[in-house]
């Protein structure tokens, strides 16, 4: 009875990962014979003609991680604290904040690209109405603004997830610790900084790891808002879109091929894997403890 799960998982998850690694040592356009090229693909990507594109994309993934951490984890924690204060309408807010998170990332991307449209977009119109017309910008058409804008849209969608995950953590903290601290003369601010936040460190850790994994695999939202070319002028190109162009075509890629594509995903994997191991370890430890 374990066999179906093992068979499907092995065939479509475990084996492809190994096979993808193997493929990265070959040159292969997708049909015909494969040509073994050793480390040539890695050389091309890391130091050769693909390296400029690769490091630019990698840099964007790093920026994506840092900015989405700052715009996700920190406000998520703050809003979770707000919701734990026992204020009127808490349940209503919880439900409402979670709505964007239930929507498909590409659909969120399309919605926001309409809202951010430079001529007719609602965001620029709204800025003009409140007298901030100078701030109206071609958000997705500007090489410095496009990536941060995409990250903010992503934050808009995922905030509910962070808020509610933190909230579940706060609710799980033993209330008696608060009372004991109050008896010792602690004020509410000290309760937050000395009790709640330290108790949430494991959750912050887990969410940070998830953010790393997501940030290095980001694809859909860039695809939806800037297309496979990840414009303007490649300023939003991430490893996911770079990989897609190499492996599955798309005009304007410097090189196309399954071997080279496999090399790029193997490199993504090498970045994410150590962090993933820590995550599985933590999850294992916590479920055993709890």
């Amino acid at each position: 009875m374990l066999v179906p799960a093992l068979a499907i998982y092995t065939m479509l998850i475990a084996y492809p990962f190994v096979s993808s690694l193997a493929l990265s040592f070959f040159k292969w356009p997708g049909i015909g014979p494969k040509e073994y090229v050793g480390l040539a693909n890695y050389k091309n990507v890391l130091t050769g003609y693909m390296s400029r594109e690769f490091y630019r994309a990698l840099g964007h993934n790093v920026i994506f991680f840092i900015l989405s951490w700052l715009t996700g984890i920190i406000p998520g924690l703050i809003f979770a604290l707000f919701l734990s204060a026992g204020i009127w309408g808490t349940n209503f807010f919880k439900t409402l904040f979670f709505i964007p998170n239930t929507l498909s990332i590409v659909i969120v991307g399309f919605l926001w690209s309409l809202l951010l449209n430079p001529q007719w977009g609602f965001i620029n119109q709204a800025l003009k109405i409140v007298g901030l017309g100078v701030l109206a910008k071609p958000w997705l058409g500007d090489t410095t603004l496009a990536l941060p804008t995409i990250i903010l849209v992503n934050a808009w969608r995922s905030m509910g997830f962070f808020i509610l995950t933190f909230l579940a953590g706060i609710v799980g903290i033993d209330r008696e610790m608060f009372e004991a601290a109050r008896i010792d003369g602690a004020n509410e601010w000290q309760i937050i900084t000395k009790i709640i936040v330290p108790q949430l460190i494991p959750i912050i850790g887990t969410l940070t790891i998830l953010k790393v994994i997501w940030s290095f695999n980001v694809f859909d939202i860039v695809f939806a808002m800037e297309g496979t070319q990840a414009g303007p002028a490649g300023s939003t190109d991430v490893l996911g879109t770079l990989f897609y162009r190499i492996a599955f075509g798309g005009l304007g890629s410097s090189d196309v091929g399954m071997g080279l594509g496999a090399t790029v995903v193997t490199l993504i994997f090498l970045i994410v894997f150590p962090i993933s191991i820590i995550y599985v370890y933590l999850v294992e430890k916590r479920t055993k403890a709890g």
Binding site: W120, L164, F178, I213, D220, V283
Partner: protein
Amino acid sequence: MLKLNSLQKSIILILLVVWALVNIFPLGVMFISGFKTTREIFMDPFGLPKKWTFNSYVKAWHVANFAAYFKNSIIVSLVSIVLILFVSSMGAYVLARFDFPGRRLIYLYIIAGLVLPVRLAIIPIFLLIRSFRLNDTLFALFLVYTAGGISFSTFLLVNFFENIPVDLEDAARIDGAGVFRIYWQINLPLLRPALATVTIFNFIRVWNDFFFPLIFIDTDAKKTIPLGIQNFFGEFDIQWDLLFGALNIAIIPIIIFFLILSRQFIAGLTEGAIK
């Protein structure tokens, strides 16, 4: 619970309302624009439509083959979820209830998939599906989604099994029930809360996925909603009434579904991070 004075509470309430508006505004604009003409959307972006018209919905529905996209999304979600539930609950039953050499290793092997982003293995998956001649069929999606759901679902169910007493099983065994019957008649009903979480988690994952249909599906009539919408945006990028109509058609059902089952949704999606 924090103890706050009324000034602090009011400030917090104001900030919560502001964030609520940031959530509602884009969705509200989208919803209302779906009832306007393109001209009205451009001339009066924030006003209510002068005449509420369903034109954009009707047009978008017909132009974009939405009936097919919906049907495909529903079929793919249903089949994948049923397969995941069946395969993972059987696997979890064996892993949780039987002791055999290598049990722990197999468990770790399966939950390693919790953090393997499936799309990183897409090239070999694509080649495999192509060698079965399953590309451009919904079968490709059933297989990929089922495989991608096994790790999380098995993990959650194995944990849940630990809260189910073994006594009932023992009693049934004495009465001569076989392994499969014990799984099917005794454990499955008790697993129901965990199965609900697994269902919701996978439903959201599958229903919203864009990447795998993008890779596997070419024929318009076989597209799921996210992929169908993508095409639509490429084709009609100046007919904003159609675009908003299409977005509404895609988004409203899932929001309603969420509002009905919000507690289960939230549990299903945050469980993985808290565990």
